[in-house]
C-alpha cells in the first residue's frame, strides 16, 4: 500500500446556513483523509458528528465550501460537465436504507439495466451479460432479475443496491451505514460481500458506521469523527487496542458486551451529556465540554494532531500520555 491514494480529501469543509440569520452549521470542518486502492477504511462517530455529510460531500451530493477532493490525483472541484461525470462514475455511494434507495416499480433487471445504460453501455446484449455478472458478484440468482425490488427482503435489496453501484466499475465506494437497516443474522452476509468485493475487484471502501465492532473487523484503518472534525485516526488494531483520544476511549468503552457477567460489573456510564450543537461548537477543543481530562488550555486553542506511530494520529494535548497508558479518560466521574 505504498502507492498513491485513490481518494484524497484535503481540508474539506461543508457548512450549511442555519435558521438563525448569519449563522452557519459547520458540519464538516477541515477534514483530511486518504483511501488507498483495495482497502476498507472505517469512519465512526455519533449521529450528528458530520460523518454522513462528509461522505455526501465527497461524492458531490453536498457542495463543499472549502478544501479539495482528489480522485487519482485529479481535483474534482476543477472539473465540470462530461469530465466531472466521468470522474464521478469512479466514486459510488451505497445508502443506508435499501427500502428508499431503490425504485419499487422497477424490476431488479430494469434497475441494473438503467445503471449500465447511464454508465454508457449501449448494446442491450452487453448490458444483459453484465447484469448477470453483477448478480453473480453480489451473490444473487439470475432468476431474481424479473422480480420487482419491492418483493425483495432487506438483505436482497441491499445486494441489488450494491450491484447498481458496481455497474459503472467504480474505484471507490462510499458506504453510509450499509448494514444498519438489516437484521443481525443477515448483516454478516452483506459484510462478507463487502470483504469479497474488496478482495476480488479491488474496490476501496469508505465505510461510514456507528457500529464500532463491525468496523473494527472490516476496516484496516479507522477515522474517528467528533463534531465535524477527525479527532483520531490509525490502523484498526492499534486504535482499538490503544485509543489515544479521550473521545475514542470513551466511545469504545460505551459499547455494550453480550456477556451479562461483564455488564453487571459495569459502573455508571462514562460519557455524560450529549454532542453540543454544531451551530456554536465549543471554543478550542470541541470535545472539552464532555472530556474528563479537559483543563483551561483546551478552551483556548484547537489541539493539533499529534503523531503517535506511523499513521496513528490523535488531536489531543494528552495524546502521547494516553497512547503510552500514562493517562486515561476512563476514570469514574462524579455524579453529573
Amino acid at each position: 500500500m505504498t502507492h498513491a491514494p485513490v481518494l484524497k480529501v484535503e481540508n474539506l469543509q461543508t457548512r450549511f446556513k442555519s435558521v438563525q440569520r448569519g449563522k452557519y452549521v459547520h458540519a464538516v470542518d477541515d477534514v483530511s483523509l486518504e483511501l488507498y486502492p483495495g482497502e476498507i477504511v472505517g469512519l465512526v462517530g455519533e449521529s450528528g458528528c458530520g460523518k454522513s455529510t462528509l461522505g455526501r460531500t465527497i461524492v458531490g451530493l453536498e457542495k463543499a465550501s472549502g478544501g479539495r477532493v482528489l480522485l487519482d490525483g485529479v481535483d474534482l472541484s476543477g472539473l465540470s460537465g462530461a469530465a466531472l461525470r466521468n470522474s464521478r462514475r469512479a466514486l459510488q455511494y451505497v445508502f443506508q436504507d435499501p427500502y428508499s434507495s431503490l425504485n419499487e416499480r422497477q424490476t431488479v433487471g430494469e434497475a441494473l439495466d438503467e445503471a449500465l445504460l447511464i454508465g454508457g453501455l449501449r448494446s442491450q446484449h452487453e448490458r444483459n451479460r453484465r447484469t448477470k455478472e453483477l448478480l453473480d458478484q453480489v451473490g444473487l440468482t439470475h432468476a431474481i432479475k424479473d422480480r420487482h425490488t419491492r418483493e425483495l427482503s432487506g438483505g436482497q435489496r441491499q445486494r441489488v443496491a450494491i450491484a447498481r453501484s458496481l455497474a459503472v466499475n467504480p474505484r471507490v465506494l462510499i458506504c453510509d451505514e450499509p448494514v444498519s437497516a438489516l437484521d443481525l443474522s443477515i448483516r454478516a452476509q452483506v459484510m462478507n460481500l463487502f470483504l469479497r468485493l474488496q478482495r476480488e475487484l479491488g474496490v476501496a471502501c469508505l465505510f461510514i458506521a456507528h457500529d464500532l465492532s463491525l468496523v473494527r473487523q472490516a476496516a484496516s484503518r479507522v477515522y474517528v469523527m467528533y463534531l465535524g472534525k477527525i479527532v483520531e485516526h490509525g490502523p484498526s488494531q492499534e486504535l482499538y487496542d490503544r485509543p489515544s483520544h479521550p473521545y475514542s476511549q470513551m466511545l469504545l468503552a460505551s459499547v455494550p458486551v453480550v456477556d451479562p457477567r461483564v455488564e453487571k460489573l459495569r459502573s455508571a456510564p462514562l460519557m455524560v451529556g450529549e454532542v453540543p450543537s454544531p451551530t456554536s461548537p465549543p471554543s478550542g477543543c470541541r470535545f472539552r465540554t464532555r472530556c474528563p481530562l479537559a483543563f483551561d488550555e483546551c478552551a483556548r486553542s484547537t489541539p493539533p494532531s499529534y503523531g503517535l506511530s506511523p499513521d496513528h494520529n490523535a488531536a489531543c494535548v494528552f495524546a502521547a500520555d494516553l497512547y503510552g497508558g500514562k493517562r486515561s479518560a476512563l476514570v469514574r466521574q462524579g455524579a453529573g
Partner: protein
C-alpha cells in the same frame, strides 16, 4: 398473591386479518414477569416481539382485525376478551409505554410540561396545578438538569437523549406497575444509549416496577434484563435467566445470533460469522420448526413436527428444539 407474576402470558396467539391477507405474527408464546423484574424479548424484525406486547393492549393499526387467543393475565385480571374501554384503563396508567422513536412519540406543538401533566390529570385525577407539580418531580426523577426550564420547552428544542428521558417521564406519570419499552435505545447513540439504559434500570429497581424490554440488541439485554425470551418467526425459541441463556445458549438460533456478534479477538479482515439463509415470510403457520431450513442440526423430523418448549437441566431454561431436547433425554 405475591407468588403470582405481575404479567403472565400463556399460549398467546395473534392472528392479523387485513382485506388481502392473513398472518400469524405470534404463535403460541408463553412468558411471565414478576414485580421488580426485567424481561427482555429479543428477536429480529418480523419475529413478532412487538405485536405480542401491543396486540393484547389494543395497540394495533386501524384497518387490521386482530384475533387473540390464549391468556394474558395482568395483576390478577385477564386482558384477552376485554372491551376497548376497559383496556384503556390499563394503557398508560398501570402499564406504561416507551416507544422507539422519541420524536414521533411526543406531540411537537405542545410544551413538555403539559404533555407530562396531561397523563397525571387523566390517570390519577389530579388537578392541573398538582399535575404540573408532579411533572416537575418526574422530570427531576429522570435526571434532567434545569427541570423547570425544560417543562416550558418544545420537543424539537431537545436532543434525542433528553427527548427519550421525557418519554420515560410520561410513561411513569400514571404510576405504572409494568413498563413496556419497545427498542428504547435503538434510535440513540451508543454513548447516550448507556445513559438511558442505566436510567431505566435504576427506575425499575427504585420504583419496584416490572419491565418488558423489547430489543434486537443482545448487548442491551446483558446489562439490563434478568430473564430473556428469544423469538424466531412468531414463536419462542428459548427462554430463561439472562446469565444462563447468553452465556450458554442451547437453541441453534440463539447460538447463531450470539455467535454472529463480532468479538474483539476476531482478526481484522476475517469473515463475519452469520446465519445462512433468511427468516421465513410471515403467512400461514409453519408446520415443523420454523428455524429448520437455516439450522445445521436439523434432521428430517424437524420439518414435520413443531418442537415444544421443554425445560432442561435446572428447569429454569426452556428450549424449543427437538434435537437439543432429544440429546438431553438420551444423556
Amino acid at each position: 398473591m405475591h407468588d403470582e407474576p405481575l404479567l403472565s402470558v400463556n399460549n398467546l396467539t395473534v392472528d392479523l386479518l387485513t382485506a388481502k391477507s392473513a398472518v400469524r405474527p405470534v404463535d403460541g408464546v408463553s412468558y411471565s414477569v414478576r414485580q421488580g423484574e426485567c424481561l427482555a424479548i429479543v428477536g429480529e424484525s418480523g419475529s413478532g416481539k412487538t405485536v405480542m406486547n401491543f396486540a393484547p393492549l389494543g395497540l394495533m393499526p386501524t384497518g387490521v382485525t386482530t384475533n387473540l387467543s390464549g391468556s394474558v393475565r395482568f395483576d390478577g385480571q385477564e386482558l384477552i376478551g376485554l372491551a376497548e374501554p376497559e383496556i384503556r384503563k390499563f394503557r398508560g396508567k398501570s402499564i406504561g409505554f416507551i416507544f422507539q422513536d422519541p420524536m414521533s412519540a411526543l406531540n411537537p406543538v405542545r410544551r413538555i410540561g403539559r404533555q407530562i401533566a396531561e397523563m397525571a390529570e387523566l390517570h390519577l385525577n389530579m388537578s392541573p396545578r398538582s399535575a404540573e407539580a408532579r411533572a416537575l418531580d418526574l422530570v427531576k426523577l429522570v435526571g434532567i438538569s434545569d427541570p423547570a426550564a425544560r417543562l416550558r420547552q418544545f420537543p424539537h428544542e431537545l436532543s434525542g437523549g433528553l427527548r427519550q428521558r421525557i418519554v420515560i417521564a410520561i410513561a411513569l406519570a400514571g404510576e405504572p406497575k409494568l413498563l413496556i419499552a419497545d427498542e428504547p435505545t435503538t434510535a440513540l447513540d451508543v454513548t447516550v444509549q448507556a445513559q438511558i439504559l442505566r436510567l431505566l434500570k435504576d427506575l425499575q429497581q427504585r420504583l419496584n416496577m416490572a419491565m418488558v424490554l423489547i430489543t434486537h440488541d443482545m448487548g442491551v439485554v446483558a446489562g439490563a434484563a434478568d430473564d430473556i425470551v428469544v423469538m424466531y418467526a412468531a414463536r419462542a425459541a428459548e427462554c430463561g435467566p439472562v446469565d444462563k441463556v447468553l452465556v450458554n445458549p442451547r437453541h441453534p438460533y440463539t447460538k447463531g445470533l450470539i455467535n454472529a456478534i463480532p468479538r474483539r479477538d476476531d482478526p481484522i479482515g476475517s469473515e463475519f460469522r452469520g446465519l445462512p439463509g433468511v427468516p421465513p415470510m410471515l403467512g400461514a403457520p409453519i408446520k415443523g420448526c420454523a428455524f429448520a431450513p437455516r439450522c445445521e442440526l436439523a434432521v428430517a423430523a424437524c420439518t414435520r413436527i413443531r418442537p415444544s418448549m421443554v425445560p432442561i437441566s435446572d428447569r429454569k431454561v426452556s428450549v424449543a428444539c427437538s434435537v437439543v431436547n432429544q440429546g438431553k433425554a438420551a444423556a
